[in-house]
Amino acid sequence: MFDSFPFVPLIPLLALAGGSIAVLALDLILPEGKGRAWWFSATVISLLAALGHVALNWEAASEVLLAGWTLDGLTRLFVCVAAGAALAAVGLSARRSTRDLAGYLSLVLLAALGMATLIGSANLIILFVGLELLSLSLYVAVALRSKGDGVAAGTFVEDASREAALKYLILGSVASGLLLYGSALLYGAAGTLDFAEMRLALAGADSTLLRAGLMLIVVGLAFKMALAPFHAWAPDAYQGAPIAVAALMSVGTKAAAFAALLRVAAAAAQSGALEVVLQPLWVMAVAGMAAGSLGAIRQMDLKRLLAYSGIAHSGYLMIALSGGGATAEGLTAGAFYVLAYLFMNIGAFAVVAAIGGDEEAGSRLETFRGLMYRRPAIAIVFLLFLLSLAGVPATAGFVGKVLLVLHGVRTGAVFLIAGLVATTAISGYAYLRVVFEVFKREEKDLPAGDAAPGAQEAAAAGGVGISPPVGAVLLLSGLGTLYLGLFPHSTLQLLQRLVMLGM
């Protein structure tokens, strides 16, 4: 039996699953107070194993494993993104207090496992399993806003965290229900669960059943990507969640759901229904761009601001699907954008983590006032991430946007491009507000001034300097953002080859 079990290609999944179990087991085995380093090591090792496996086998042939999970270029790339985001989340959690830590790390690994499963799903069942694994882990992880040393149990922060988790759970369950219902309808229309068979079965097909099924699946995934009008959960959830989890959700969930959307679109590519189903998606995308950028203008909390920004970025990403779902060029552009988003968004969250930590006031805009004069190095990388999110040239975000626009021009997606350009200008202002704060110099920001109590508290907490893991995350994100912005050529070539393997 073991002869036929494909251990080696399944290493990404096995490592993540094994890692999550190992962390819990270590919690049981090790004496109290000794486990911290072990848990972290186990987590990091399993993430690195997953990451290393896909990264070392970039151009291996695609294969479908156990009839349910595809290991192809698309999977490899997006698993890298998800594992990278999880790794960053672990790095940003380095200061967490020991209480709940093992469970928390295990949940992060399970969420990454869910993402990897979802990304490579080759049939509807695995897709749903992956989605649920990802969602359930995150529902709980959102509630685990701890309790850094400044936050006592039962305080507001804890309640807010729980409230956010509960909201996310209830709304997420509705979306999961819709997706499950859509899967049932799609099965009814196609007569198969398997995407490869579905592609043949659905060629030229178009029926009410098929359209309804596809639409509901798209809605379910749109919820995970926080496209409008399914975005309302995101700001609350991000604000309530621990920063590390918010960072993981913003990048990992988005990437995984996008990959799943690509899988479904590829499966339905030859049916007449896909084009009809994509039209509401364009509306959702532009609505997301508008809601995200308009919503971001007035936020006073950085996590909420980044949540709104994520809503807009999900909208931009949908341009990759124009021209009939999964096309090679669209995929390249989309994959590049996801990669760029990984670096710049994780980076932005890392800055919040480095400056404010998980304290209540840590992500408030005032906390960042005059940052340029207090912590110039962090302020400058922060500036880089904000500019990249805004799409300013010489950053990853700019190249990503250009690629999407080029793809949109080729496929005639005028509506989407107009949305992108108009909302880019608006959201540019939203990011700029943060830049203003960073550069604002006020007398009261001078040392020992009477800054806002929250800001001072946070400054005191963050004032000890950056812990090495957070510093590493900042550095890597900054380098990635710059590298993709200045020398996108080699990455683009790699993506093009991967996409060839993926389709």
Binding site: K167, M215, P229, V409
Partner: protein
């Protein structure tokens, strides 16, 4: 081709300067910082001169080229950041780096009391880099990147004194207005790619012949939106007067001599597109003429020294636009150069005077400045004469050439607007001159709070600019010299669709403008001479806030506030209210209220907005389903 390497030198030296100065701003001495920054621009100017010589030695029709960054190809289209040194870009570079060098030099002394000396020079160097990138790019994408970067540099420098609320507001306003322009430019770039399949000027201009006029007109008009925003032309000029919150050398370099002419550069650079789209070209001319007149009218009612000059800049750039808009690109380039000389001179002198009066900027409270600083008096007089169009000085020849071309194109109405603007220019400049220099020193300032007069480091750039303001126009004296014509050669003939002008311009044309400006100057001098009517009114109103439509720039600002800013905020609120109950200024209130009430998390979920969220999910899904089932 082999000499293309001077192009990256020109471009990258100021960038290197900016980085070095920024890194060493707390380590190096002040002289070191100023020296590095100034030298980098100076060498860059030398490289521009070398490029000029290299270009002259190439056969006509060829240009210097250099490939800076290769981004590879994507979907068959090569992506590269290339540099192009042809007649137009070298011309611009000479002025940008030349005037830039002089203003760096001036700043070294002028900003000497500034604590953030290094930060200032780093930003100023960064601006020169960004402007060079804008001008030297050989494609629309690179131009756009430079365009965005000069916007950032301008934003940083307007808000240089970031403890001042007004400076921060002004920086923000400039950024937002320019974002509007950038949207136009980006859309133009998208259209260009859709139409021509690439961004390089070469490729685009070759395709112009066969492209549909509709597309070209759309591209031209979108480019014009960008140009209008950056060059502070109607109706997007509102940021420029506020931009005077920046340090005065910045106003001289960025908001007078160079950056605000980027719109003119864009039109001149894209002239093949405009030649093929007459409607768009005409729009350029109309925007220019209206701005020239509008700026001149409003300048009459300003009482802040720098705001007078700001509106004057808007007006003068309007002349350049007018010239470009009737196809007289050479004239527009010529006026760009002379204007850079005399406007930089005027601004730099304004800085000296304002320093001398201890920060006073209200011209109604000035007077008698010349008695204390005769050299400044003389140089300012040269600047005033040059801009007002006194025969023989720089501004005269370039402005005449534009008005001449406008008339010869048969655009009589635009020509009349231009003449009116030119005579108003004489009027407001003489007014400014009288209020600042004539009469006795106004109470409170005599003796000069600034104490010391300008030193050598300030006087050298001023002297050079004064000489250039006198002689800059001699490059092209009709019938005598034609350096600009010889330099440009047939550059604009390649794509120009203009029929050759027939006949000689009537002789009265030039005399008429001279006479109109002369009369206006005389009226102004009578009105604002010491103890004249205007003089008394102005002195009586000193210190009070300005009122009336002129001072308020015909309320364009209030108009935007009511029609754009408030609705946008309203929309944002609406979106917030619809789905986001944490709107946002009230977030602190919300937090504390919640903390008070939070018994259990479950309770919180029962509050209203959970239902609202669920409703939006259900409604969205329902609508989407309905759509796919019905269609």
């Amino acid at each position: 081709m082999s000499v293309g390497f001077v192009l990256p030198i020109m471009l990258l030296l100021p960038l290197a300067g900016a980085l070095i100065v920024a890194a060493g701003r707390n380590k190096f001495s002040r002289n070191g910082l100023a020296g590095i920054a100034t030298a980098s621009v100076g060498v860059s100017f030398a490289a521009a001169l070398a490029a000029l010589l290299a270009l002259r030695s190439l056969p006509e029709g060829e240009a210097l080229r250099h490939r800076l960054i290769d981004w590879g190809s994507w979907g068959g289209e090569p992506f590269a950041l290339g540099l192009l040194g042809d007649e137009v870009s070298i011309w611009w570079m000479l002025v940008v780096t030349g005037v830039g060098f002089l203003i760096h030099l001036y700043s070294a002394e002028y900003m000497a009391d500034e604590a953030d000396y290094g930060r200032y020079f780093a930003k100023l160097n960064y601006f020169v880099f960004a402007m060079s990138l804008l001008v030297l790019s050989d494609n629309f994408l690179g131009l756009l990147i430079g365009w965005a970067n000069v916007g950032v540099a301008s934003f940083l420098l307007i808000g240089f004194w970031n403890r001042r609320q007004a400076a921060a507001e002004a920086a923000r306003k400039a950024f937002i207005v320019n974002a509007v322009g950038e949207v136009g430019l980006i859309l133009a770039a998208v259209l260009i790619f859709a139409q021509f399949g690439g961004w390089t000027f070469e490729r685009v201009f070759q395709g112009v012949e066969t492209a549909p006029v509709g597309a070209l007109t759309a591209i031209g008009l979108l480019l014009l939106i960008g140009a209008v925003a950056k060059s502070a032309q109607l109706p997007l000029h509102v940021w420029l007067p506020d931009a005077m919150q920046g340090p005065t050398p910045v106003s001289a370099l960025i908001h007078a001599a160079t950056m605000v002419t980027a719109g003119v550069y864009l039109v001149v650079r894209a002239y093949p597109i405009y030649e093929a789209a007459p409607l768009a070209l005409h729009a350029v001319a109309v925007a220019g003429a209206c701005s020239a007149l509008f700026g001149a009218i409003v300048a009459v009612g300003q009482s802040d020294f720098k705001r007078v000059l700001a509106f004057s800049t808007m007006s003068q750039v309007g002349f350049m636009m007018l010239g470009a808009g009737v196809g007289a690109y050479e004239a527009a380039m010529f006026h760009f150069m002379t204007h850079a000389f005399f406007k930089a001179l005027l601004f730099l002198l304004a800085g000296v005077i304002i320093h001398h009066l201890g920060g006073e900027q209200d011209i109604r409270r000035m007077g008698g400045v010349g008695k204390q600083m005769p050299a400044v008096y003389a140089m300012f007089l040269v600047g005033v004469l040059a801009i007002a169009g006194a025969p023989g000085l720089a501004g005269f020849f370039s402005k005449e050439e534009i008005l001449h071309a406008v008339y010869m194109r048969g655009e009589v109405i635009l020509w009349a607007l231009g003449v009116a603007a030119a005579s108003l220019t004489a009027f407001y400049m003489v007014r400014l001159f009288c209020l600042v220099f004539a009469g006795e020193p106004h109470g409170g300032h005599e003796g000069g709070a600034g104490g010391r007069g300008p030193g050598v480091v300030i006087l050298i750039p001023l002297a050079v600019l004064t000489l250039l303001s006198i002689s800059g126009g001699w490059l092209h004296i009709p019938g005598v010299t034609d350096v600009t014509g010889a330099y440009l050669g047939g550059f604009f003939d390649r794509f120009s669709r203009r029929v050759a002008l027939i006949g000689q311009a009537p002789a009265w044309l030039g005399w008429l403008t001279i006479a109109a400006a002369g009369v206006a100057a005389w009226l102004s001098a009578m009105w604002f001479r010491p103890q004249g009517m205007g003089w008394k009114t102005a002195r009586a109103a000193a210190g009070r806030a300005d009122q009336g439509p002129l001072a308020a720039g015909f309320f364009v600002d209030s108009f935007y506030q009511a029609l754009v800013v408030r609705p946008l905020i309203g929309l944002s609120k609406l979106i917030g209210l619809a789905v986001d109950p944490w709107v946002v200024d009230g977030i602190v209130k919300g937090l504390s209220g919640l903390a008070a009430r939070a018994g259990s998390a479950v309770q919180a979920v029962h509050r209203g907005h959970m239902r609202r969220y669920a409703l939006s999910v259900a409604a969205g899904a329902g609508l989407a389903l309905l759509y796919v089932l019905v269609v």
